[in-house]
Amino acid sequence: MNNQLSRRWVAFNTLLTREIRRFIRIWPQTLLPPAITMTLYFIIFGNLIGSRIGEMGGFSYMEYIAPGIIMMSVINNAYANVASSFYSAKFQSHIEELLVAPVPNHLILAGYVAGGTARGLCVGLIVTIVSLFFTSIEIQHLFITISMVVLSAIMFALGGFINAIYARSFDEISIIPTFILTPMTYLGGVFYSISLLPEFWQNVSLLNPILYMVNAFRFGMLGVSDIAVEIAFSIILVCITALTSFALYLLNKGTGIRD
């Protein structure tokens, strides 16, 4: 049993290391663009427009949007990393290297999701450093901040994995980020408090899981939130459980990877 455990640990580490090496090797495509994009967000929304908006939730607009912008970059990059890496492995057939090896499906899933989470957190850290040039950050609740950003990265890495399993072309791994993920992020309270919306749209916003992540993360950093943090954690844990079960079901069934 110990042998099996240590073999699995080595396999997981190998997969995670390969994933990290991949996104570091292609850093101009993976790490640099979010740093530039988010700098523009801070300059345009935070600095130029934000100075005319005034305060939101008791903070300057720049301070208020910083957690949302960090979370947005984490979510997008965790998703994109797994979607593109796993789909490329399918497309180039080198996923077969893993399928023929004694790596159980749950470890394949764990390795890719950990790789996506690592990129999400790495980009999150870069964007946090960028944000320090525009505003000061004092974290109010460290545990909530860290656990929420890690759980959000895991959840969206799982989403990217499922997307990649079903994808049959590179177009199909960009459809969901473009038409679903981006609108959900923009409408998920990154740039505003939902209290500014009419009641009907406030209720509609509550169906958006990203709203909970952004607000719980904002609570961790600033101490303010539109929703209860406990609900945010419950929702994200339910989503992670459901997505993990579904991804494992697809892997065990061989969808998209085995004839």
Binding site: N13, R18, H94, E97, L99, V100, D259
Partner: protein, 307 residues
Amino acid sequence: MKALSIDNLTKTYTDGFEALKGIKLSVEQGDFFALLGPNGAGKSTTIGIITSLVTKSSGQVTVFDTDIDINPETAKSHIGLVPQEFNFNGFEQVKHILVTQAGYYGMPAKQAEPRADELLHQLGLWEKRHTAARALSGGMKRRLMIARALVHKPKLLILDEPTAGVDIELRRSMWTFLEEINKQGTTIILTTHYLEEAENLCRNIAIIDKGKIIENTDMKSLLNRLDKETFVLYLQESLSADFVLDNISYQQIDDTTLEVEINRDEGLNTLFSHLNQQNIKVSSMKNKANRLEELFISLVDKSEASL
């Protein structure tokens, strides 16, 4: 001990195509085994099922007495696969590919690095160890796939057309390498379209056609079944206009070339005594076709006729 045992294996694809129709096959430990068949016969599907790349419809597969369904991790750890198509990440460096593959088999980098170095030297890839795999030549890519399949020291090596598109010199050096690792105890299963390759390397053979095993025996017995062989004779001088070979089936290709069909029970002596009597000198001769090739074609033809 059996390295591989397949029982009543079937595979029907979602479009209804029956790739395997209940095949039964076993390969002894230490064997060098050929799995031959025409294109689309079911060779790659069989290999795909053994290596978990294809989901079987029914049947049982055991690798060194381990059922691939009951204990897939142990079964997989015994197998090394060299697939037909290049299937590595072309952007990764050669040595990284080997060390990563070893890691998937639970070999820590400390052990994987020297093992990768050893294989890179053996397969002539050492100079290219830091090169991205996509920049390798076709022959080097083939060798990389062999090195990758061997990095975890498998007991069973499966090669699916490993020498396709490889030049003669490299093919022969790969044969020598494979013979060497077989001598060291690795069981090898080979599929190939070069029947000369199978005849030279393999001790046992199975021929699959349209999803069924139509022959499964040792190479020697199979070749003994060949009742006729065609030889091409190159003569030192031109044949005279009245040249005739009595009771021997032959065809004159040109003035100095004869094609002669010899029955197995007659041998070559009768032919040469006829030629000696007519003072015809043979400078060289060869088999018109590879012996296994002749048998292969006749077996596949028979199988098709019986359908």
